[in-house]
């Protein structure tokens, strides 16, 4: 064994920003290092973007890439904030990581801030890559980017709430299965690539209240049609966020 270490007690918590940044950095690294996560967050959205923009698989209004790109952005947000976060947090709970972190000076609020920051950082990366590919395919985004950013943030909150609700209550394996299932169902129903106009009227009314539909619809309103802030879609997302985050904060089990 080597030199003696100075174990003399000198306890103290690091400043909150340092703790949060350290934890957020660790979370981003774990996403970027995880093959399945990358598949979900980047590769699938880009395949959908390229595939549906290039090949006339479905009848869509307007230019193909202008219709598909906002949907793929919404899909990417959902994959990170919901699917990735639900599975990641579910397994952190299962492996006792949440419990162990609970015994460090990083508070639960700090941990949630770090997770939010990590999700947003990954989303920024996704948006940059997807936007670059879409622009390369002739995408011509319209509208005010601020409205798009606002929708992305509200969507992130709604999907995070849903993710934490699942991860904090179900077994890790159940979360894994359910998160993937919900991802696929929402991908099909949410107007990501299939226009809502092709659904029967009754189904459409229900589907329009889903968070993915609101995010896709809102982003498409702004980016494809140059509309002002889509208030209805934003309200749907905020309602989901309030409901799921409120519920998650009550029922979340840390171990």
């Amino acid at each position: 064994m080597t030199a003696a270490l100075d174990f003399t007690p000198s306890p103290g918590a690091a400043p909150l920003p340092r703790m949060v940044l350290a934890q957020a950095g660790a979370e981003v690294r774990s996403v970027l290092r995880n093959g399945e996560q990358l598949l979900l967050t980047l590769i699938i959205p880009i395949l959908v973007l390229v595939g549906f923009s290039a090949v006339p698989l479905l009848e869509v209004p307007g230019r193909r890439v202008d219709f598909v790109a906002p949907g793929v952005l919404a899909l990417a947000i959902m994959s990170t904030a919901f699917t990735g976060q639900a599975i990641g947090t579910g397994f952190e709970r299962r492996y006792g990581v949440l419990k162990r972190l609970g015994a460090t000076p990083l508070s639960r609020t700090g941990l949630m801030l770090a997770k939010t920051l990590a999700v947003i950082a990954v989303e920024v990366l996704q948006i940059a890559v997807i936007a670059a590919v879409a622009l390369g395919m002739g995408w011509r985004p319209q509208g005010n980017p601020l409205w798009a950013a606002l929708l992305v943030l509200a969507g992130t909150a709604a999907f995070s709430g849903l993710a934490l609700l699942m991860a904090g209550t179900l077994r890790a394996e159940a979360t894994l299965a359910a998160a993937n299932l919900v991802y696929l169902v929402l991908l099909g129903l949410g107007g990501v690539v299939v226009p809502l106009t092709s659904f029967p009227h009754g189904l459409r009314t229900v589907v329009e209240l889903l968070p993915i539909t609101a995010l896709t619809g809102g982003l498409r309103e702004v980016l494809a049609h140059g509309s002002g802030l889509p208030v209805r879609d934003l309200l749907v997302l905020l309602a989901w966020a309030a409901l799921t985050l409120g519920l998650a904060s009550r029922v979340f089990r840390w171990e």
């Binding site: 174990f7 306890p11 703790m19 660790a26 419990k99 162990r100 015994a103 508070s107």
Partner: protein
């Protein structure tokens, strides 16, 4: 660097009074009272299921007691978690680390949560993990995982560490390395509470041993006070020797018993005189005392006497 203490050094590291914890209809902790002194090593010893982990997890703030009072460094972990978290280092019995996290990265992350942490590479080195700094947690051996958890418990330079079964599943060399760290912590003023079901661990390391069984303390004190100053004389011989006759020859207050058959134990003031009396008596009886030995009672003996059961 010295840091002003928020709480006086007088309060014990841990003070539990009449603690009760139930899981459904199972009573895991049943009116447990114990204290652990500042700067001391306290070993909570007991068989599996005795309530050791539940007790420690209540002190760590992971669980709430159903009744009784809990004070850790003078504070209530349920109410003062924020003050306590930087001051208390925790080693869980297992897990707690993301399987894909690399050993060095995990330790660095935990170090970033503290104001004046130890240097992560130096600590890794001290625990013999330098070669595994880039190894994901899931690919470390059980012993390496334990050592990483120990490192994470001490890296923030806490006042008090809780080590839940720190040497479970370790090979003898790794156990000794762990003991060495605990001794070093003690030498530098850190209080340690550890759980174990290894008697030798408690005997060698602890200033104080708390024996618990079925959720309650059956005895506590220094290893020496528990095992007693008294020594025992043990030998093997043919079964059925007449011990009453022997007792007459021994000093008053001595005891002699045959348990199990053919194994004899003499307790009392075991000195040269007693030894001489016993061997002379054996010679007179025409028996050869095999494996004659003088030894102290072990904690194992104490546990057996208190509960009528083996520790493991």
């Amino acid at each position: 660097m010295t840091v002003p203490k928020l709480v006086s050094m007088d309060s014990p590291a841990v003070a539990l009074t009449d603690l009760v914890k139930r899981y459904g209809r199972t009573v895991a902790i049943d009116g447990l009272t114990l204290s652990a002194g500042r700067g001391e090593v306290t070993a909570v010893l007991g068989p599996n299921g005795a309530g050791k982990t539940s007790t420690v997890e209540i002190c760590e703030g992971f669980r709430r007691a159903d009744a009784g009072t809990v004070r850790v460094l003078g504070l209530d972990p349920a109410r003062h978690a924020r003050e306590l978290r930087p001051r208390v280092g925790v080693m869980l019995q297992s897990g707690g680390v993301p399987p894909a996290a690399r050993a060095g990265e995990w330790l660095r992350l935990v170090s970033r949560f503290h104001a004046r942490p130890l240097d992560p590479p130096a600590l890794l080195d001290r625990l013999g993990l330098t070669d595994h700094a880039r190894t994901p947690y899931r690919r470390l051996s059980g012993g390496q995982q334990q050592r990483l958890s120990l490192a994470a418990a001490v890296i923030g330079r806490p006042d008090l560490v809780f080590l839940d079964e720190p040497t479970a599943g370790l090979d003898p060399q790794a156990r000794h390395a762990c003991w060495e760290i605990v001794r070093e912590l003690r030498a530098q003023g850190v209080s340690t509470v550890l759980t174990t079901h290894h008697m030798d661990e408690a005997e060698k390391l602890a200033d104080k041993v708390v024996i618990i069984d079925r959720g309650t303390v059956v005895s506590q004190g220094s290893p020496r006070s528990l095992t007693g100053a008294e020594r025992q004389l043990r030998f093997r011989a043919r079964p059925g020797l007449d011990l009453d006759e022997l007792l007459n020859a021994l000093p008053a207050g001595s005891t002699a018993k045959e348990s199990p058959s053919g194994h004899y134990v003499i307790e009392g003031h075991v000195g040269p005189e007693l030894l001489g009396t016993v061997t002379a008596w054996c010679a007179a009886e025409g028996v050869t005392a095999d494996d004659l030995s003088v030894e102290r009672r072990t904690l194992e003996d104490v546990f057996l006497e208190l509960t009528g059961r083996e520790l493991r």
